[in-house]
Symmetry: C2
Amino acid sequence: MTDKTTIVLETILSRKSVRNYTGEPVTKACLLALLKAGMAAPSARNRQPLAFVAVTERSILNALGEGLPYTKMLFKAGACIVVCGDTSVDLQQGATDLWYQDASAATENILLAAEAMELGAVWSALYPMPERENHVRKLLKLPSGVTPFSIVPVGHPTGQDQPKDKFKAEKVHWDVW
Amino acid sequence: MTDKTTIVLETILSRKSVRNYTGEPVTKACLLALLKAGMAAPSARNRQPLAFVAVTERSILNALGEGLPYTKMLFKAGACIVVCGDTSVDLQQGATDLWYQDASAATENILLAAEAMELGAVWSALYPMPERENHVRKLLKLPSGVTPFSIVPVGHPTGQDQPKDKFKAEKVHWDVW
């Protein structure tokens, strides 16, 4: 195994949902690195039907948190990234719309990039939950055709949150079930 | 930036859809490392509703490829991993079922782990396309309640496939849209 292999696999295994932050700000340069990671995710038929809102303004972070029952960590986060589907992007004829799969891959890339940068982040689902979507849509002034998919609070971790070992050999089947 | 940061971000940016393989086999140890990465993905409410079928048997790889119009690279792949949703796992009362978001994150982790291991892999969608799902379900003898979500051919890359730069600054909105 090369160093690269070891370091990347360790990062994947040590990624955790970080819900406790020190309160330190997150720089725009850090957010841009996270956004680049998000946009590098694979996209079905290379359609790239995503857009991103990066929020650092304290009043908006708080207002987002007020309407999202499971995302109260926004009050202490330095920033958040909202991953959105842009359904105005054309589908090829007859193709199934897989935008939410692309959005999931982008969200996971952002979480892994945060882990690598020693930031803490957590995936909080918005889609398909209309109340949560509408709260975010209104505050962030999203145009119609744009669907908020996930919200990822980002901050400097306090160190309280730890990874889980979720590997279970019985979930693997070899050649056939 | 630490070495870890640089190496992980570079791996995320250099991940590509690899469709051309040398034909060399992929070891079970490599597949296990990919499966560990897949299982380390975040899971909504930590429900972990996934299962995996790892295929190395030539005749099964070929039979899978025969029925999947966009996954002909299975004929040259050393292996594949089918990421499945196991909808028999209990939902908490009233909760929205997000298994396909978990499955997407697991698929992305597998792709990134492959990139880090200098293997080549590609995400080929099965869900929600009943014809593709049924072909895979039948060949892999999946029980009812288990839905094949994605199939990831894995092999040693020939070097032909290159990453795309998909970053577009206009897809980022700051604070509000």
